[in-house]
C-alpha cells in the first residue's frame, strides 16, 4: 500500500498492511534544511515552512503531513508580543488582553499578513508538493486556545466565572478569526484540517464549562460544521492530560483524534484503554509516544517503546474487532529543539513499519 491508500484504510477502519505513523514532527524538520535555518526564520517564511515538511517527508517517510507551526500565531497577529528564540518554540510573553475591556477590543487581523499569512501560504506550498504522496492537513488553534494565548489562561479561567460576558466577547472574535482561517485554508488544497482544542481537559474545565466556552454550537460546533461543509476531513488534536473524549470524539466526530498519555496522572487514558472504551470505533486515534523520548532516549529505547505501543494497539484493536484505527504518533509535537534526535523520529517510523504490520488477530 502507498501512504494515501494506507491512511484512507485507517480512516475508514479498512484493512491496511500496517498501522499508520506520524510523529508530530513539524518545526524540527527545519534541521533537514541545513544548520543555518533558525526556528524564527522557518516560521516567518512560507517557502522555508513548506520546504521543511517536504524534506521531512522525504527523510522520514511519514503517512501524513500536518502543518503545525506553533500556538502563538493567532495571538501574535492580534498584537500580543511573541518571544522568538532561535531554536525553541515561540511563545507569547506579553498578552494583548490585560483588562476586561480588552476582550471587547480584539479585532480579527488581516489574515494574509503576519504569521497567519505565512501559515496559510506555507500550507498551500507543502500541500502542492506532497498531496500525491500523503494526506496533508492544515493546523489551527481553536477559539479558546487562541484566547488564552492572547489573555493568559489563568485570567481567562477566572474571568469565565467572574465576567463571562467579557470572555464570550473575546471568543466571538476568535471564532470569527478561525472562520476566516478555515475559509483561507480551504483554498490551499489541503484535504484535512486539525484543530487544537486543548482546553477540553478535565484538569481545567468540567463538561458544562467546556460546552459553554468552546464545545457548544457557538464556537467549536460552528467551526467543525464549517470545516466539514467546506470538504475538510475535520480532525482534533488535544495534548492535555485528561481530555474530554466524549465531547471531542463522540460529539465533534473528527476523522482523526490525536492525544497524549500521562502515565503519572491518575485516569489519563492509555492507547489500549482508549480503544477498549470504544473511541476507535468512532475515528482514527493517534498517539502517544512521550515527546521527551525524542530528545533524551536512546534509539534502542524509543524503538522498544514504539514496538510496545504497536503491540498494545494491535491487541486492543483485535479485541474490539477493529482493523487499523490507530496511528502511532507523539501526542504532543516532537520538540523542535536543536538537540532533538532525528534518528529517534526515524526509529518510530521504521519500527512501526515492522512491528505495526497488521494481519489476522
Amino acid at each position: 500500500m502507498n501512504h494515501i491508500e494506507r491512511a484512507m484504510a485507517a480512516l475508514t477502519d479498512g484493512e491496511a498492511d500496517r498501522l499508520t505513523t506520524y510523529p508530530i514532527a513539524c518545526g524540527v524538520n527545519r534541521k533537514l534544511l541545513g544548520d543555518n535555518v533558525t526556528y524564527a526564520e522557518w516560521c516567518r517564511d512560507p517557502k522555508l515552512f513548506a520546504d521543511a515538511f517536504v524534506a521531512g517527508q522525504k527523510y522520514f517517510d511519514f503517512d501524513f503531513a500536518i502543518g503545525l507551526m506553533d500556538l502563538s500565531v493567532m495571538a501574535g497577529d492580534l498584537g500580543a508580543h511573541v518571544r522568538m528564540d532561535d531554536e525553541n518554540t515561540p511563545f507569547v510573553d506579553k498578552y494583548i488582553v490585560n483588562d476586561l475591556e480588552d476582550y471587547e477590543k480584539l479585532e480579527v487581523p488581516d489574515i494574509k499578513a503576519g504569521r497567519t499569512g505565512v501559515l496559510i501560504e506555507g500550507t498551500r506550498l507543502f500541500t502542492e508538493k506532497l498531496k500525491d504522496e500523503v494526506i496533508c492537513a492544515a493546523f489551527l488553534e481553536g477559539p479558546l486556545l487562541a484566547l488564552t494565548q492572547s489573555a493568559g489562561a489563568e485570567r481567562v479561567f477566572m474571568d469565565m466565572f467572574t465576567n463571562p460576558s467579557a470572555v464570550h466577547a473575546g471568543l466571538e472574535t476568535m471564532t470569527e478569526f478561525d472562520v476566516q482561517m478555515v475559509e483561507a485554508f480551504s483554498e490551499t488544497g489541503a484535504p484535512g484540517l486539525v484543530w487544537d482544542y486543548l482546553w477540553g481537559n478535565y484538569s481545567c474545565l468540567g463538561d458544562k464549562e467546556y460546552d459553554e466556552f468552546e464545545g457548544g454550537s457557538k464556537y467549536a460546533g460552528k467551526l467543525n460544521k464549517l470545516a466539514v461543509d467546506l470538504g475538510f476531513a475535520n480532525c482534533v488534536h488535544n495534548c492535555a492530560d485528561l481530555p474530554h473524549l466524549d465531547t471531542q470524539i463522540k460529539k465533534f466526530k473528527p476523522a482523526i483524534y490525536s492525544m497524549a498519555y500521562y502515565p503519572l496522572i491518575p485516569d489519563s487514558p492509555s492507547a489500549g484503554e482508549t480503544i477498549e472504551k470504544g473511541y476507535a470505533d468512532e475515528c482514527l486515534l493517534a498517539g502517544n509516544i512521550d515527546p521527551q523520548f525524542f530528545i533524551r532516549a536512546s534509539e534502542e529505547k524509543i524503538s522498544k517503546v514504539t514496538a510496545d505501543l504497536c503491540q498494545e494497539v494491535k491487541t486492543a484493536l483485535c479485541k474490539k474487532g477493529l482493523n487499523s484505527r490507530y496511528c502511532i504518533a507523539s501526542g504532543c509535537e516532537v520538540p523542535p529543539d536543536r538537540v532533538t534526535k532525528l534518528e529517534n523520529i526515524k526509529a518510530v517510523v521504521d519500527v512501526t513499519k515492522e512491528e505495526g504490520v497488521l494481519g489476522d488477530c
Binding site: 531554536e87 518554540t89 507569547v92 506579553k94 477566572m158 484538569s203 502515565p263 521527551q292 530528545i295 533524551r296
Partner: protein, 223 residues
C-alpha cells in the same frame, strides 16, 4: 542542579513567597536562582534581586508543558552555564502540570553537562480566597493540590481560622498523602520548613517515576 517548584493559582501569593524564600536561602549561604512566571502576580524587582545575591529569569506563563518545555530547559542551561546555582526555585503558571515541568527540567540534561534533581513540589493554597477559588477554578486548584508533595495554606496571617481549617480539610480530601503546613510571607510562619524542604528533601524524577509506573502497570496487567 536542584529544581524546586512553587505552584499555586494566580493571586495565591506565589511570587511574594518565592522572593522571600530566595532571600532567606541566600542568607543561609545557598546559591539560588529564581525563575518566575513573566505574567505572574508581580514583576521581578531587579534591585531586590541584585541586593540579595539572587539570579532571576522569567519564563512564559504558557499554559502548556510542551510549549514551554524547550525555553524552560534552555533557561536552566543558561543558568547552569552562567550563574551555576545550587537550587533553582520556579514559579510555574497556575495551569502548568508539575510533572510536565519536571519533564521539561530534565530535558536540559540533553543540552548541557548537568544533572537535575527535584525538591518536593510545593503548592500554595490561598486561605483568604478559598471559597471563591473553589467556585471559579475548582478543577485547576484540585489539580495543583493533587500534584503536590507539600501543600502550604498561605496567607494565614490574614485568613480567618475557619477558612484555614476549611482549606486544610480540602487539601486532605483531594490529596491525603500531601504534607500540610501553614505559610505567611508577612509573619514568616512556615519559612523554616520551606527552606528545609527545598534544601534537604528530594522528589522523584519524571523519567524514573514514569518507568516505575509503566512497570507497575505491566505487572498488574500480567496479574
Amino acid at each position: 542542579m536542584k529544581v524546586s517548584q512553587i505552584a499555586g493559582f494566580l493571586g495565591s501569593g506565589k511570587t511574594t513567597a518565592l522572593m522571600k524564600i530566595g532571600e532567606g536561602l541566600v542568607k543561609k549561604g545557598c546559591r539560588i536562582a529564581i525563575v518566575v512566571n513573566d505574567v505572574g502576580e508581580i514583576s521581578i524587582d531587579s534591585k531586590f534581586v541584585e541586593a540579595n545575591g539572587l539570579e532571576a529569569r522569567e519564563i512564559a506563563g504558557g499554559c502548556i508543558c510542551c510549549q514551554i518545555a524547550g525555553s524552560f530547559a534552555e533557561t536552566l542551561v543558561k543558568l547552569h552555564e552562567g550563574f551555576n546555582p545550587e537550587i533553582v526555585i520556579v514559579e510555574p503558571s497556575g495551569v502548568a502540570i508539575p510533572w510536565g515541568l519536571k519533564r521539561a527540567a530534565e530535558y536540559s540534561e540533553a543540552k548541557s553537562d548537568m544533572s537535575i534533581e527535584h525538591a518536593p513540589v510545593i503548592t500554595l493554597v490561598d486561605a483568604t480566597r478559598i471559597d471563591m477559588l473553589m467556585k471559579a477554578v475548582r478543577r485547576l486548584v484540585e489539580t495543583q493540590i493533587r500534584e503536590a508533595d507539600v501543600c502550604f495554606v498561605n496567607k494565614v496571617d490574614a485568613a480567618k481560622a475557619e477558612d484555614i481549617a476549611k482549606t486544610e480539610e480540602l487539601i486532605r480530601n483531594i490529596n491525603p498523602r500531601a504534607e500540610i503546613a501553614h505559610l505567611s510571607s508577612v509573619t514568616m510562619e512556615g519559612m523554616d520548613l520551606i527552606y528545609d524542604i527545598i534544601v534537604n528533601r528530594i522528589s522523584p524524577r519524571y523519567d524514573d517515576a514514569v518507568e516505575e509506573e509503566l512497570l507497575r502497570k505491566e505487572y498488574d496487567k500480567r496479574g
